[in-house]
Point group: C2
Chain length 204, copies 2
């Protein structure tokens, strides 16, 4: 089975279980456009030009997941672009994990550095007629907080733009986005710098 056929099978199985396209997009680390194509494969509609990133070997074990989260933290502390080595005091107040895939990474970073943890649920996971994003009430509030936003994969940047706007509307200051993989190769989104461990670019 090709990578594409495998993804079509997975996407359809998730849909059959009642998942929304937004959830499938997160689950598979693909853009919404790609997921729509996988689910419908309408004639005359071109196959998606996307790249699938499977990091389950790391995500499936707590020790490896923690290593990954600590690398995001060290990238911030050691490799700040165009500046000196960072000090722990430069860390923000709150780590905002984007649910579902960013939340475990954000949790481990907050636990390591003694920071507050917030969890953002993007609009694409909302099942209401007018989908809207929200902050989980179980974790920290964000008003007047300097926040770092954590997610696993930057695909189109739509979810991050939404999260940045949400934080600003609620009185928080997003100071950086940390991601494992960046498929856009963008240095910033809506004025917020993006720091990724790996940049993945599709050629041709």
């Amino acid at each position: 089975m090709s990578a594409l056929e495998e993804l079509i099978t997975k996407a359809k199985a998730l849909q059959a279980e009642g998942h929304t396209p937004g959830q499938i997009s997160d689950e598979l680390g693909l853009s919404m456009e790609t997921v729509t194509w996988l689910l419908t494969q309408q004639k005359g509609m071109e196959a998606p030009k996307d790249v699938h990133i499977d990091w389950a070997a790391v995500g499936s074990h707590g020790v490896l997941l923690n290593d990954m989260a600590m690398m995001m933290l060290k990238r911030f502390l050691y490799l700040e672009e165009g500046g000196d080595v960072r000090a722990i005091e430069d860390l923000p107040d709150t780590v905002v994990g984007i649910a579902p895939s960013g939340a475990p990474l954000a949790t481990l970073i907050a636990a390591e550095e003694g920071l507050k943890l917030a969890v953002y649920l993007p609009a694409k996971h909302s099942r209401s007629e007018a989908p809207t994003g929200s902050l989980s009430g179980t974790f920290s509030a964000i008003a007047a907080q300097r926040c770092i936003i954590v997610d696993d994969v930057v695909t189109t940047g739509t979810t991050l733009s939404e999260t940045i706007a949400f934080l600003r509307q609620h009185g928080a200051t997003p100071v950086a986005v940390w991601s494992l993989f960046d498929k856009r190769g963008a240095r910033e989104i809506d004025g917020v710098p993006v720091h990724s461990l790996f940049v993945i670019s599709r050629l041709g």
Copy 2:
């Protein structure tokens, strides 16, 4: 500048400095076919269908590079497919790093676990008329050794096939390939299991 234009510029700069296509292929983590296209862009020749992986943010700092190497080791120890958790005693005798990009990762793994270190120089780096691979005489020999082969990116698998054949011809037993990224999604190469941290698949 698009990712493709950036790579064309980089590939041509490396060629101007006297690098062979094989070296450029390693340097940029791309297949030989892609590098040939980047350097010539012959009319009627299609743009390469490849994925570029930039892990320089991690590779450029010793601490992050060491974290990455330790994750390769832990993946082997904790996540052995279809078996129990591995014991340190299951480790091989020698870690063979493929020069240039696999060698630092192999070095850190060998140093951590007290294993021998060998460095393989693939044929594509040979400048002789009949290019042939070789083992660096500065590091360990491999005869009668159980070896793990370490590289950063599995692109087409050509270099790994060559390394596996070289090890077998010289009396060694390759027991596994460890890589950071696998662009082929292959579980094995020439009968040797491949364990990668991340699988990157191009769609469409």
